[in-house]
Symmetry: C2
Subunit: 356 residues, 2 copies
Amino acid sequence: SRSINLAVIPGDGIGQEVVAQGLKVLNAVLPQDVKLETKEYDLGARRWHRTGETLPDAELEALKGHDAILLGAIGDPSVPSGVLERGLLLKLRFAFDHFINLRPSKLFPNTDTPLAGRPDIDFVVVREGTEGPYTGNGGSLRTGTEHEVATEVSLNTAFGVERVVRDAFERAAARPRKKLTLVHKNNVLVYAGHLWKNTFDKVAAEYPQVTTDYLHVDAATIFFVTQPERFDVIVTDNLFGDILTDLAAAVSGGIGLAASGNINPTGAFPSMFEPVHGSAPDIAGQGKADPTATILSVALLLRHLGYEAEAARIEDAVSADLAERGGHLPGSSGSGGGSARGTDEIGDALAVRVAG
Amino acid sequence: SRSINLAVIPGDGIGQEVVAQGLKVLNAVLPQDVKLETKEYDLGARRWHRTGETLPDAELEALKGHDAILLGAIGDPSVPSGVLERGLLLKLRFAFDHFINLRPSKLFPNTDTPLAGRPDIDFVVVREGTEGPYTGNGGSLRTGTEHEVATEVSLNTAFGVERVVRDAFERAAARPRKKLTLVHKNNVLVYAGHLWKNTFDKVAAEYPQVTTDYLHVDAATIFFVTQPERFDVIVTDNLFGDILTDLAAAVSGGIGLAASGNINPTGAFPSMFEPVHGSAPDIAGQGKADPTATILSVALLLRHLGYEAEAARIEDAVSADLAERGGHLPGSSGSGGGSARGTDEIGDALAVRVAG
Ligand SMILES: CC(C)[C@H](C(=O)O)[C@@H](O)C(=O)O
Ligand SMILES: CC(C)[C@H](C(=O)O)[C@@H](O)C(=O)O
């Protein structure tokens, strides 16, 4: 009989609330013969305040034993910027070699978009997850003086670029439109840019059925708002992917609907699924957070573990629910997403639908 | 009697056409006692094809003798990516220490915006122009092999950050809303991020009348499309500024209206004014390019040289012209801006208006 051994990191702020709904829907969608085991890990701002720890070695080891990780949100204004991001969230992405940061964008019916005319948005960003300016390389000399020099080094390897580019071509080839756009800034960042572009062109030769395109990151932001329907699959660097996927979320229903997967396709380490939004402390504990982003992240998790039918059932349920019940109001913070229906209500509605 | 000794670099593609209109309006707006001298520099793709040169030392020297530079657009698909950008455009910005890259965004009447509800957009981005990931620092090891490592180094100095932050506070203090937002990514790029944030906080203490805010660059893109009216002045790094100002142009009338100034406020070197758009080879030579971005860049040029009344006259003329005559159609390439009226027609209309 089948089983899923899931690690759960609810984290901070609305993380707790949205993860509870994600698990509710997961339980509802799984066939009876699949045994779901979950183990909660107390990591995030409270833990750090209590013990000073972000991600101790023992817990990193323990996490390795799971099939996948579901994460709510990490971060709180009471913790200095960077401590939890680099000590916990990015540490997990790097330790578990999550080189595919998968972020789909789809404009569901009845949802909010700031764009006039509701363009047809249905694309996926394949963001590199283990290199670029995210490696923590850099430093500061004469810190705090008028002679300070601070550097940030973007590291890019042929190995790292090729594996994410290949993954993106595979995904593009499997979609009806079969189009892949590389986004970089190779007219300025010429060293990294040439590595990305040359790798892209080399791999493209193996996928003649895939239409390819290249855009500078600045130009890409223009098309995200004027012509988002031109995108099918996008592959890009870690930092450009970070920026573009928040913009993508904003134009396609808001950050309350944006799911993501930090994926290691080799299976060497567990992959981790999380909403794109943050911990939204301003609306935490009020039952106002939209759990849809987490629930859609659960769909990505199921797909990654081979439960394609169940993943699709969740996505269809979200689409049908929005079509019938109407959109979720964006949250005041813009980072969590509030909702006209409550957090529980949306979770319940989706759980009923997927069980249906 | 007063005089302006202007260097003109029409450059490539639509650069020629739009610069001609910029000069037409400049001539029309200047009081009779101001003597305008212009000298054209043949730099760009054609020059590079002919001689292999991008910006020879002699011309760099000659450019130093001018009061200001008006630039059309640089770049052509026939030139390898990076050659003209780094050999000419960025070389000028760095050689002349253009540390203020000024990019105003204003949603004029009757113009296109992809945003529903036409929000009230009127902000200015003060982009750092001489540091960050634009310094050309970086390299490639084992280039072209499966073991290639490519790096890009973002360089940030206390000197460089403080001068642009101070300039931005001055600009914010002089505007009615007096609000300054720092955009960075200090939860990931912690070394550069701390330098920017600490400098910002230090200088803020000297401007108690200015309201301050901080946003991560990813979150900033969300607000650009959901709540652009929250911005007044933004100060940011060279690369974040590049990305954000294309997005800003897209939401506020399109890239055909976006002006910019590469400014050295010390006066040690001439400042350079250019539309944000590129050379748009797809519509070059057809009289379809919108010259408004260049004409508004001429307004920034005049303001920089102390001709405030003339600068305002151009801006008012653009606003009145758009209100009466209607918007300009965005160009097919998204990078140049085509126009329902022709290039000449718009230039003529504005020249007539500013002449009053
Ligand atoms: C919290 C932060 C470190 C993170 C990132 O920059 O990757 C977030 O913005 C995201 O997109 O998941
Ligand atoms: C052409 C390119 C080098 C330039 C930049 O990246 O600064 C352009 O995008 C701009 O914004 O002026």
